[in-house]
Amino acid sequence: MTVFLQNLINALQWGSFYAVIAIGYSMVYSILMLFNFAHGDIFMTGSYIGFGVATGLMALSAAGVIALPNWLILVLTLLISMVLTSFLGMFIERVGYRPLRDAPRASAAITGLMIGIILETGNLILLGAQRIKFPALVEPVTYDLGGVFVTNQKVLIVVVSLSLAMALHQFIRRTRWGMAMRAMAFDYVVVPLMGVPINKIAAMTFALGSGLAAAAGILFGVAYPVLDPYMGIVFGWKAFVAAILGGRGSILGATLAGFILGFIEIFVAMVFPSTLRDFIAYSIILLILVFRPYGLFGEPYSVRLRL
């Protein structure tokens, strides 16, 4: 039982990463119908930006310019990096995706892939091959709850991820911008004719998605403090899986799919020999899709491939 509970907590933490990254991916995917293959690398860049901001703030604090407690540094790092990465996302949208708005979707996927490679290589050139340790903004404290170990980091990560997901959900449901986004997701062709500014919505979608990726990157840095330029690739592809698994146009679906992916990976390793983890985990996903081909919350739709 303790093993099960422990793994439940592990899976919550792991799943919340996938969830936050998948939401960002799902935004772009649902609203603009794009495979954003640069998303994993935006996540990586967000993490590095977070590293830069955090180190800077800590240096300021240590030099006595402004005395900041660690929790405030974390909050500031989160906010500043999210904003900076949002600009990066908007820039990527402007140069890599907007010119291809009317092109086949796959062309934009390729520009995304290439922008990802440029981000990775650029990072390698700028910072060298050295891996980077993310500063310990949250000193880990372990609580022993009758054999089940919980750290304050885990709690923090799950809480922040869930609140981000909820905030985004509210934004999409309650605000005019959110309504415009939902409308775009519903019909890509007619809605712009109704006066919805398509470029603004696209830029905003990318900004939100990238901001979330940055948040995930910083939370990742807190929990797994080793950063390297290629760390985003796997996350990008897994977010892709989770976004589609969740269903098009569903923030809740993407959140849930992220958690499901995390739970599958953790619990498969618990029950089966861990050597077979990927094999079994992805077979389960295959099976889910056989029975729910439009994802968990997706409505059947027909993609008009713009060829």
């Binding site: 303790t2 899976a11 933490q13 891996r131 340790k133 797994y224 290629y230 618990m270 861990s274």
Partner: protein, 391 residues
Amino acid sequence: MKKVFVVSVLLLASLVMVTAAVAQKAVTLKIGINAEITGDIPKVGEATKFAAQMWLEDVNKAGGIEVGGKKYKVELAIEDNESKAESAAKAATKLITVDDVIAIVGPQASKQAVPAGEVCNNYKTPMITGWSTNPNTTKDRPYVFRACFLDDFQGPALSIFAKGEYKFTKAAVLYDVASDYPKGLAEFFKKDWEKKNGPGSVVAYESFTTKDTDFSSQLTKIINSGAEFLFTPQYYNEVPLIVQQAKQLGWKKPILGSDSWASDELVKLCGKDCNGFFFVSHYASAGAKGATKEFIDRYKSKFGYVPDDVAALTWDAIGLIGQAIKNAGTITGDVKKDREAVRKALANTKNFPGITGTISFPPGSGDPIKCANIVKINDKGEFEFYKTACP
């Protein structure tokens, strides 16, 4: 018309320059470097490149390598294999047939080293890898060598140490199933441990996949298996994550590691969490003496960090080649003959004083005989020599 005139004058000028320059050509020895500069493991490529360049500097300061009473200048031809098997084979072919290298150092990772070894063996060009522990790399290939020790020696060395030092009987192993080095080591360790402590004495044998960062599920299993220590033959960038997560899940027992822990980065990334653990290493950077210390200090002052095992092994690999060239007798200028001579000299290497230990190649094999050091990470986070284990 004017343009035509200008162009023809330029062409003529270049032709004249050409003929003037043809005459002055001396034999320079080229050594190929086939490294993973981009791709999954850029750090490995960087260390390879840096160590090789440092070596080259030394050699050229001395005026080149002296063979048979004559000094020859040395050049490096560096190729990136992008951490891809086919690119490594291409790079090796290019180094051999285009650049006419006399010998090749690298690739370092087995995924690249095995196909590149095939190419080098076919073209009868000596190749030496610093890091690849896959038996396939050198097996039945008289032209391929390595500078590191093999898994089948390192695994048992560790199990003997754990048994002798702590009197443990129950072991847990956590390794990367998709990467051949950790997997091979884990298997050899398990085999040896179960031979000594009876079947089932490896109570948890868990794995993950390359690039994973969360090991909580596997570690939970390990913690609940009643193991007395954890052996994890992983790379230094993964070890900090494993150690930190284990501690956060309540693990308080020792963790043992392999030679892939040996990097300054380990301590930087791990903080205090790794202090007190043991691992097997080619060399210990703290308290190193003689040539090893000199190498570490120079590398550190030049590139800003303490060299990892790749750098040290590359240094030895290229040093072995340098020595072999020296021992080759004469340089004929016919690169095929020279390669043959270098291979012969390399195969006959006896007691080469490397910084990772004394290296000899047994007859008919490219796998060196060398001793391993057991190293402790002390409270200051330095790698301290603890014990030697010899085959």
